[in-house]
């Protein structure tokens, strides 16, 4: 069962990731990224991380991807034009990707002492997780909440349309109204 589920959802993952690359319309890429993230949630569940599977669906496939699709629709992003990119990306980037994949695969395949994963393995309960999180790692947790607060303030400050800004409208084309979103 584990084998079938793994192959099914690993296949979904890879198909979604490849589809993200070949689609030229951003909304299609966003939808395939949702497929990747939901399949990853199932893989987390297979590995016994039930809380993370739920968080993956709610935070990633829910909140973050809704934000992405919202921005794609707000900016009315059309098809991307395919260019060859920069010469540096071609000459350095792609060999680097092959090198990264090769090195990772060799290290992983040569690693000793890695076990197996099966359905009979225990599931990390949310209680166990929260016990560590709220006892030993309470300070990092609180710092992260401050980080989220700062990110909210930054997002609002960046995305607002600059009324109250002494430099006024920085939009040289005067077409900010259709993107203001209010």
């Amino acid at each position: 069962m584990h084998l079938i589920l793994f192959f099914l959802f690993a296949g979904f993952c890879l198909a979604g990731a490849i589809n993200l690359l070949v689609q030229s319309h951003p909304i299609n890429s966003a939808l395939s990224l949702i497929v990747v993230m939901t399949s990853l949630a199932v893989l987390y569940l297979l590995l016994g991380a039930e809380f993370l599977a739920a968080a993956q669906v709610i935070v990633y496939a829910g909140a973050i991807m809704v934000l992405f699709t919202f921005v794609v629709m707000l900016l009315n992003a059309g098809r991307e034009e395919r260019t060859m990119g920069s010469r540096t990306a071609r000459k350095v980037g792609f060999p680097a990707v092959v090198a990264i994949l090769g090195i990772l695969a060799t290290v992983i395949l040569k690693a000793q002492g890695l076990g197996v994963a099966g359905l009979r393995d225990g599931i990390t309960s949310t209680e166990e997780l929260s016990r560590v999180l709220f006892h030993e790692l309470l300070l990092p947790f609180e710092v992260t909440s401050v980080l989220i607060l700062i990110a909210i303030l930054g997002a609002v400050a960046l995305a607002r349309h600059g009324d109250g800004d002494p430099h006024g409208n920085q939009d040289p084309h005067g077409n900010g109204e259709r993107t203001a979103g209010k």
Partner: protein
């Protein structure tokens, strides 16, 4: 068939899947020409790394690996909010999302 149902799979396969997903994210970062899609490739790379964190947490029975994934998710949420706000600001200033045309800081 019953042996198929009770089969366990090696941890290595999860790690290989994670490596392949990460490489696909890097390829997407290089070949995509739309600002939003480039950003999505970064999210794909973050997810690939999260998968290997969960795999190792399962392997060593360590809860802290899963908590690290939790922190990565929170930081990714903050990053997505700020990044998309920056994309909206860039679109408002340049009226384009093509990365080739956003070259003000290029030498």
């Amino acid at each position: 068939m019953s042996s198929l149902f009770s089969m366990e799979i090696p941890i290595t396969w999860y790690l290989l899947l994670s490596a392949v997903l990460f490489s696909l994210g890097v390829v997407g970062f290089l070949i995509k020409r739309n600002l939003i899609t480039v950003f999505m490739s970064i999210e794909l790379m973050l997810n690939a790394v999260n998968l290997s964190f969960v795999t190792f947490a399962h392997q060593w029975h360590a809860v802290r690996g899963q908590i690290f994934v939790f922190f990565v998710m929170m930081v990714a949420a903050a990053e997505a909010a700020v990044g998309l706000a920056i994309i909206i600001a860039v679109f408002r200033a340049r009226a384009t999302l093509a990365v080739d045309r956003i070259d003000l800081m290029k030498l």
